[in-house]
């Protein structure tokens, strides 16, 4: 009995409530004529789609920079990579991995600048990260209109200049990961193995990195920066590395999202994604200065499960679109729960 209570306190009450709520939804699905297998396939797909985003949260939490509200920088780098790869007309695997290669330098540069800024500014980092991120996205909105893209697939029809708000990835690298080795069972159930493998690979690389010498130093900076400094670690360099890593993962994350979602969303679309990733990692059980791979998997699964199940089950059960409201309350509630824990504020 003792370790059950221990398990509950470790897992935390809010997560248990959400988990039970999700199980309830799955149980209730058949009664409201919602196909279980289609729902599970949908959850798996969305889990893969957003997995890398949630993973991107880990480095900065581990190094004590707190929740990365400025993930939009990574997304901007990813969008640049995607649009350039399409401009060059690369298709298939070359298109997708080309986009990642093109996005990487932007991500590293933006991550480095963003890291330098965060090091100069101790205290209220999260608010500053959020607004610098918003300003960056808005700046890119202007750039999307001015940058000399020419590929007809992307540019506005009548003006011939400036990018469309949503660009289809059809014919380039649509579902390139999802369909790779996809296992189809029956008419509704498909497992996007390629996608899950890719996300698994990223998670494994991150798990490995956290085991390396630099990774260990970064974790130490997160749990006690003064201890790290006394052991000869340059705290600022570690924090910058963690920000660069988080931004690069953000870039990869948006590309994985787009190849599964089917569209590149430009202009103000990236504004909402950081909050979703933050809510997911916190639902997974991460605190403000500690996050593990388990938190990523559990968080992404619970959060995306919530997103997919509530609209279908609740709507058909109550004939209303209540799911939107429930999702807002649950995800923001989780972030609020984490922010008001008694941990010492990010250094």
């Amino acid at each position: 009995m003792r370790n059950l209570r221990q398990l509950v306190t470790d897992f935390g009450w809010p997560r248990i409530i959400i988990f039970l709520f999700l199980v309830l939804l799955f149980l209730g699905a058949p009664f409201v004529r919602v196909r279980i297998d289609a729902s599970i396939a949908d959850v798996l797909n969305r889990f893969g789609q957003n997995g890398v985003f949630v993973l991107a949260m880990v480095p900065m939490i581990q190094s004590g920079c707190g929740l990365n509200f400025g993930l939009s920088f990574g997304i901007i780098a990813g969008l640049l990579g995607a649009t350039l790869s399409m401009q060059f007309g690369w298709h298939g695997f070359l298109g997708f991995f080309g986009a990642i290669a093109l996005a990487a330098p932007f991500a590293v540069l933006l991550g480095w600048l963003y890291g330098k800024l965060l090091n100069k500014v101790k205290g209220e980092e999260m608010t500053i990260a959020m607004y610098v991120g918003f300003a960056g996205v808005m700046f890119m909105c202007i750039m999307w209109l001015l940058l000399p893209y020419t590929s007809p697939n992307m540019v506005w029809g009548y003006a011939g200049k400036g990018l469309r708000t949503t660009i289809t990835v059809e014919g380039y690298w649509l579902r390139i990961l999802n369909d790779f080795l996809a296992i189809r069972v029956g008419e509704f159930f498909v497992i996007p193995t390629g996608l899950l493998l890719f996300v698994g690979l990223c998670a494994a690389l991150m798990w490995l990195f956290l085991r390396t010498k630099t990774g260990t130093a970064m974790t130490a900076v997160g749990s006690n920066p003064i201890y790290a400094r006394a052991s000869g670690i340059s705290v600022d360099r570690m924090r910058t590395i963690s920000v660069i890593l988080s931004t690069v993962l953000g870039a990869v994350g948006i590309l994985v999202y787009e190849q599964s979602f089917g569209f590149i969303q430009l202009y103000t679309a990236p504004l909402t994604m950081p909050l979703a990733a933050v809510a997911a990692i916190l639902i997974g059980g991460a605190s403000i200065n500690k996050a593990s791979m388990l938190n990523v998997v559990v968080g992404a699964f619970l959060f995306q499960g919530l997103l997919t199940m509530t609209p279908s089950v609740i709507n058909s059960a109550l004939q209303t679109d209540m799911s939107e409201v429930i999702r807002i309350i649950v995800s923001n509630g989780m972030i609020l729960y984490a922010l008001t824990r008694k941990t010492k504020a990010a250094s």
Partner: protein
């Protein structure tokens, strides 16, 4: 000291409720239909000028009906016939009633039921409104394309 402060707080609460009801009563708007049709007691008057609460005069022929928005519960109606004779009547409007019908002939004939509630029978269905756009940080984009909806400029 405790009692005095309690007393004052209760008084303040009373003032708060009083103000709210005052605003409600004086502010409540009604739409009054000015009707010049024949009724059992009296038939419509041909050509009459009606002025409600000092607003601009409405010209009604027999069988006409016009609408006036009135604020507050008091109704001061001034009816002027073609031959110049004018009569003025003061009426009270029931608070809860949004729509009322005032029959001018009934009014002139001094009948009790000149003013009675009007229940809109077939209210045209409100225009089909679009799906409610709920937005927050997590789904719909938070920043509308135009940051500032253009308000109608103040009448210069």
């Amino acid at each position: 000291m405790r009692r005095r402060r309690l007393l004052i707080r209760v008084a303040l609460l009373a003032v708060y409720v009083g103000l709210a009801t005052l605003a409600f009563v004086t502010g409540k708007a009604h739409t009054v239909l000015i009707d010049n049709k024949d009724t059992e007691q009296a038939e419509g008057i041909d050509g009459v000028l009606v002025e409600v609460n000092g607003g601009e005069q409405l010209e009604l022929y027999r069988g006409d009906r016009d609408k006036v928005a009135v604020q507050g519960q008091g109704l001061r109606v001034r009816v002027e016939l073609l031959d110049g004779t004018a009569t003025e009547k003061r009426l009270r409007l029931p608070v809860g009633q949004d729509m009322l019908l005032l029959s001018i002939p009934g009014l002139l004939a001094g009948s009790e039921t000149a003013l009675e509630p009007f229940v809109p029978v077939n209210v045209a269905p409100p225009p089909e409104e679009e799906e409610p756009v709920t937005s927050d940080g997590l789904s719909g984009e938070p920043l509308p394309e135009t940051l500032e909806g253009e308000p109608p400029p103040l009448a210069p």
